[in-house]
């Protein structure tokens, strides 16, 4: 994101709304974006309504209020002068928007958001079958953001387990070679709101994956969220629960349920 200094009146509303805390007040009293930290999510641009006031008018009002020892306070969800300006992004910076702005669709997977379907379409795709487990590791969430070098750190740590990185996942598509987990060098320093490493494995290997994550977590300067998924048994029970709990971990009481209403329903060949 960029800020038009001619328009900005330094109200500060965009500072708080930025999920990465990448906007601050510059020495000239106007806001400035730290381009290294900005993940191009465009939350500031979408949420702060452009009030279209002329900057001179706002500055005049502010000087009058200042003379009366009063402060100019814009309501929290506006940009009084429409100073926020989304730039045209070129690769590799465009990846920031693809991973951070939910209105942008990932070119490689055709899916918006984090760019992956996980179990959400498992009823029609059969992505996870009987005995399979899906493990999703979302780096940067909640609220800290992640660089692809963090993503690489976890991906390479998983390699001894011979992971099957999901092909239709935008992180996998940024790997030089999924057999090594190495990320393409030109994107390694890009920062995103979050990125998901997605692995398909078997239920009995869940404890091994969790052990690797347990060991690597202290080496990261960001947070990550972990999720585990599986296809339910015919009675509706959840097969991954036993494996996770036996490994000594606690699963959330809430989660995501695919109701199985998609058609045509994927038929597993026995």
């Amino acid at each position: 994101m960029e800020i038009d200094k001619e328009k900005c009146v330094g109200c500060g509303n965009c500072h708080a709304i930025c999920p990465m805390g990448a906007i601050s007040l510059d020495v000239d009293g106007k806001s400035v974006v730290n381009q290294d930290e900005c993940v191009e999510c465009s939350t500031c641009y979408r949420v702060l309504r452009d009030e279209r006031y002329p900057p001179l008018f706002i500055r005049f009002i502010r000087s009058i209020l200042g003379a009366l020892n009063l402060q100019f306070m814009a309501v929290p969800d506006v940009c009084p002068t429409g100073a926020l300006t989304p730039p045209d992004l070129e690769y590799p910076r465009s990846l920031r928007a693809a991973f951070s702005d939910p209105t942008v669709v990932h070119a490689g997977t055709g899916v918006g958001g984090r760019g992956t379907e996980e179990i959400k379409t498992n009823d029609v795709t059969g992505r996870l079958l009987d005995g399979d487990a899906g493990i999703v590791i979302e780096l940067g969430r909640p609220g800290t953001g992640a660089h692809f070098r963090d993503v690489e750190k976890i991906a390479t740590a998983l390699i001894p387990l011979d992971p099957h990185f999901e092909e239709f996942n935008p992180v996998t598509q940024l790997m030089e070679d999924p057999k090594t987990g190495k990320i393409k060098p030109e994107v390694i320093d890009e920062k995103v709101l979050s990125a998901i490493i997605e692995v398909k494995t078997t239920l009995e290997k869940i404890p091994d994956y969790l052990a690797v994550l347990e060991n690597i977590q202290s080496e990261l300067d960001t947070v990550f969220s972990v999720g585990v998924a599986s296809k339910c048994l015919p009675d509706g029970s959840v097969p991954h629960q036993k494996w996770v709990e036996d490994a000594g971990y606690t699963l959330s009481p809430n989660g995501k349920t695919n109701l199985g209403l998609g058609r045509p329903l994927f038929k597993e060949v026995s």
Binding site: I17, I119, L213, C232, L259, L261
Partner: protein, 208 residues
């Protein structure tokens, strides 16, 4: 909407937090707009506290009306709605089964509640995903109430700083918890933000 998976809260709080949404597989998108349209109409009939579509925004946002949403829907749009009780969710699921839309539909919420809904409607859940929580540099995370509000947005677009700011606005009586919750909900592009839960968390500020 991947991370409706990681919504934080006590089991009691989560009893008031169910998100139902469509997800269309990549190769099955053509021709699905009318089905998603019908999905949203069924949800809307039962008075969700939030409803919308990932490309068009939510009804909490400026200038987004429900009728505009369904008019501009495109094939494959991920769309969703938020309900605050399992009884209503059960009715929504019953209507969706009867409508037989043939698109993948998911619910984020307490698994037992959703499992019971499925049983009462004569279906068996297909797949389940659960969270193992947050790992890594957890010292960078804020206090629990802020985290609970932040995770109400599936993409984490409601910043920690903005939550703190709106807490201050409530504390200074510049706005009510309800108004603050609605403003925070505007950041969530996919309409999964639960304003009711956010309002309850913001009310705590007034008690402190």
């Amino acid at each position: 909407m991947t991370n409706t998976l990681h919504r934080k809260g006590s089991t009691e709080d989560l009893k008031g937090d169910y998100v139902i949404f469509t997800s269309i597989a990549k190769d099955y998108k053509p021709g699905t707009a009318p089905k998603i349209h019908e999905f949203l109409k069924i949800c809307n009939k039962y008075g969700p506290i939030n409803i919308g579509s990932s490309k068009l925004g939510s009804v909490l946002q400026n200038d987004v009306e429900f009728n505009d949403l369904i008019t501009h829907l495109k094939d494959g749009s991920t769309s969703g709605a938020v309900f605050t009780d399992v009884e209503t969710l059960q009715k929504v699921i019953a209507d969706l089964i009867e409508a037989d839309l043939g698109i993948s539909i998911n619910v984020s919420g307490l698994l037992e509640g959703v499992h019971e809904c499925c049983g009462k409607n004569g279906i068996t859940r297909h797949s389940v995903e659960q969270s193992l929580g947050f790992w890594g540099a957890k010292d960078r995370l804020p206090e629990r109430d802020v985290l609970e509000i932040n995770t109400l947005c599936g993409h984490g677009l409601v910043s920690f700083n903005f939550i703190h700011k709106m807490m201050d606005e409530v504390r200074m009586r510049k706005c009510t918890p309800k108004e603050a919750a609605k403003i925070l909900g505007k950041c969530c592009e996919c309409a999964v933000f639960n304003t009711s839960r956010a309002e309850k968390l913001l009310e705590k500020v007034l008690e402190q």
